[in-house]
Every structure is written in structure tokens, then in C-alpha cells.
């Protein structure tokens, strides 16, 4: 389990390097990957639902990256994109393709659906919280004026 969590965070760090992130941001990228996978695993343990756990971990990482971006003053998109990497459905996509080649239709559909649920869950989580953030900012600005 520890190995799984660590390897996911190192993977996020690797993507940080690949996307040419500034060196001083890398510890936060690593932390983002770690938080993401931990929140995913915990939610999955209790609910056993792919859609819900990806939605939760996407919203957690969205909030985290906005807070960090506010603190160290840089675009939040850096942490959102690298932090979400560990839950990207690479494995489901591969097993779907493998089962199509082996013509196991039932398994192919099962893996395809799980990939779809993950993408939908992440989209849902991000959409929900960025809407909240937008509304919050708008009211904040109008109150200031």
C-alpha cells in the first residue's frame, strides 16, 4: 500500500519534470499527487464506487491547488493537472483494448465503463468546485465595490 501511494506521488513528480515546472514548485507537485491518491483510496475503501471516489479526489485536488496557488503565487493549473495524473484511467483503457482484441466482450465493456466513470467523476468534481469558486469570487468582488 505504501509503495502504491509513493509510486503514484513520484509519478506526479515525474510529470511535473516532464512539463518543465519550476524547481521550487516540485515539492508541492509531489504533495498534490500524494493527497490525490490518498483521498481516492480512502473514498474507494468506504464507498466502493469509482465515480464518487474520482469526484471526491478531483475536488480535493482542486481546492488544494487553489490554496497553494494563492500562497506561492503561481497559476493553479500546474497543480491541478499534475495532481490528477494518478487517477487518469490508463489501466482501464489498456485492459479494455486487450479484451477487445481477445474478444471478451463482457470484460471489455466493464473496463470501458470504469474508464468512462472515472473521467466523468473527475469532470464533475472539477466543474462543481470551480463553479463554487467563481460564485465566491464574483460576490467577493461585488462586495468590495
Amino acid at each position: 500500500m505504501i509503495i502504491k501511494l509513493l509510486s503514484a506521488s513520484i509519478g506526479a513528480l515525474g510529470f511535473g519534470l516532464l512539463f518543465n515546472t519550476k524547481k521550487s514548485r516540485l515539492p508541492f507537485v509531489f504533495l498534490g499527487g500524494f493527497i490525490n491518491i490518498v483521498s481516492y483510496e480512502i473514498t474507494y475503501m468506504y464507498t466502493n464506487n469509482i465515480f464518487l471516489s474520482s469526484a471526491v479526489c478531483a475536488s480535493v485536488i482542486y481546492i488544494y491547488s487553489n490554496i497553494i496557488a494563492r500562497i506561492i503565487k503561481c497559476p493553479s493549473v500546474i497543480f491541478v493537472l499534475t495532481g490528477l495524473i494518478p487517477v487518469v484511467p490508463g489501466a482501464a483503457l489498456f485492459y479494455m483494448m486487450q479484451n477487445i482484441v481477445l474478444s471478451n466482450n463482457y470484460l471489455a465493456i466493464k473496463y470501458g465503463l470504469s474508464a468512462l466513470y472515472t473521467v466523468l467523476g473527475i469532470a464533475f468534481g472539477i466543474a462543481l468546485f470551480s463553479m463554487f469558486l467563481n460564485i465566491f469570487r464574483n460576490t467577493h468582488n461585488s462586495l468590495k465595490k
Binding site: S7, G14, C74, I78, G90, I122, A123
Partner: protein
């Protein structure tokens, strides 16, 4: 006003173009171009950006100018994004000429560490192989394949080749190399291929598209979304063909 309207327009679009190319959200691009022009005291500003096109019109009491930029190529480069963002803030405060802006953008573009990027790709692929349950030998091979992929990437010059064809080719190469390696060693092919696929998967394009849609830029959001969908399809078919050739594991 110190500068001509057309010069202000050109320099603000230079900055916007650099931002789209480094993978920024569309709302941020429009906002930046508008803010730069406001910094130069332009009265009326109209900006429209989607992920493949940037167009703006500036107008004052006497004249109006329009310029557009076609963007055919973009990838994620956070360092560039961050630096261009800083540059735009700098421009707003102390107005500089277009020559200066171009010089600074070029300086940002050159500044990239290939070795570190290659290393990042290798450890990303390796650690995801471990993540999905591979062992140390699998890690080694997936890192080697990631390295070969990086060489192909720099050698091919992605600007001249369609992204979909590139993804198809790259995933095919991954599959074939993993299958060839498994003929000589005892490996978990599926774990190796998954680790390397993670590098290509258009998950990032999907997330940026959701970002854009929520912020109200539906056109570029759907553009990027459909783009990501087709990239995933081409990736999957590349893998499938390599599996067919290599005997279904």
C-alpha cells in the same frame, strides 16, 4: 500615447499566442491580452480566443486595427506558462516596445532542460508501472521504453505531424517494444504498457476542456474535449494493432 495602436496589438497577441501554446486556459489568455492593452491606455478592446485561434480589435477615437493569429500546435509547458504570465504583468506596469517583448519571449522559449524532461518521463513511466503492480524488472523496461519514446519525440518534430497520427504511432511503438522485450525476459507486459501509456493519455486535455466549459468558453472546451476523445481512440487502436501483431499476449 507613446506607441502606435498596431504595435500594441501585435505585442499583446504575441504574449497571448505564447500562452495558448504553453497550454493555458482560454479565459486566462483573453484576460491577459485585455489587461495588457488596458495597460497601454487603449480605449476599446475586443478579444476573442479559442484553442486554435486568437483574434483582437483595438480602437480609439481615430482608427481601429485588427489582427489574428492561428495556433496549430500546443503542449503543456508550465515553466513557459508561468514565465509568460509574469512577463505579461511586467508589461502592464512598465510599457515596453514590441522588440523587447519578442526578445523576452524567445528567451523564455529557449530555456528548457531536455535532460530533466527526459528523466521526468522515465521516472513517471517507471513509477506508474510499479503503481499498477509491476516489479523491478518491469520498471527498468518501462523506463527504457519511455527513453526511446522521448528520442522519437524529439526526432519527429511534432509540429509538422498530426497529433492523432503521432499518438497512434507512439502507442504502437510502445506495444511492439514491450512485446519484443517479453520474448527475451519474463515480464508483465500489461504493466509495462500501462505505465508508458500514462505518458500519452489525453487526460490533461480533458481537464483543461472542463475548465474552459465551466468558465464559459464552450467552443474551445468542446474543441479540446473532442480532440481528447479522438486522441484516446487513436491511442487505443495503436495498442490494439500491436497486440494483434504480437500474438495477443
Amino acid at each position: 500615447m507613446k506607441y502606435k495602436l498596431s504595435e500594441i496589438l501585435s505585442l499583446s497577441l504575441d504574449v497571448g499566442e505564447a500562452m495558448i501554446k504553453s497550454g493555458a486556459e482560454i479565459s486566462r489568455v483573453e484576460d491577459t491580452v485585455r489587461r495588457i492593452c488596458e495597460g497601454y491606455n487603449v480605449k476599446y478592446i475586443e478579444v476573442y480566443a479559442i484553442n486554435t485561434l486568437l483574434i483582437a480589435t483595438l480602437r480609439n477615437d481615430k482608427e481601429s486595427v485588427t489582427e489574428s493569429r492561428r495556433v496549430t500546435y500546443s503542449n503543456n509547458n508550465f515553466y513557459e506558462l508561468e514565465r509568460v504570465n509574469e512577463l505579461s504583468r511586467n508589461i502592464v506596469v512598465n510599457n515596453v516596445s514590441r522588440k523587447e517583448v519578442l526578445k523576452r519571449i524567445n528567451k523564455i522559449k529557449v530555456d528548457k532542460n531536455m535532460y530533466l524532461m527526459c528523466f521526468g518521463q522515465m521516472i513517471a513511466a517507471g513509477s506508474f508501472t510499479i503503481f499498477f503492480g509491476g516489479n523491478a524488472l518491469d520498471l527498468l523496461f518501462s523506463a527504457i521504453i519511455a527513453f526511446i519514446l522521448f528520442l522519437v519525440d524529439t526526432f519527429l518534430n511534432k509540429k509538422n505531424i498530426s497529433k492523432i497520427i503521432y499518438n497512434f504511432l507512439a502507442s504502437f511503438i510502445i506495444g511492439i517494444l514491450a512485446i519484443i522485450a517479453s520474448k527475451f525476459f519474463v515480464l508483465n507486459i500489461d504493466k509495462i504498457i500501462i505505465g508508458d501509456i500514462m505518458l500519452l493519455i489525453p487526460g490533461l486535455a480533458m481537464f483543461t476542456s472542463i475548465y474552459d466549459i465551466v468558465k464559459g468558453d464552450t467552443t474551445s472546451g468542446t474543441n479540446r474535449f473532442v480532440d481528447g476523445l479522438f486522441l484516446a481512440l487513436s491511442l487505443a487502436s495503436g495498442i490494439a494493432i500491436s497486440l494483434f501483431i504480437g500474438g495477443k499476449i
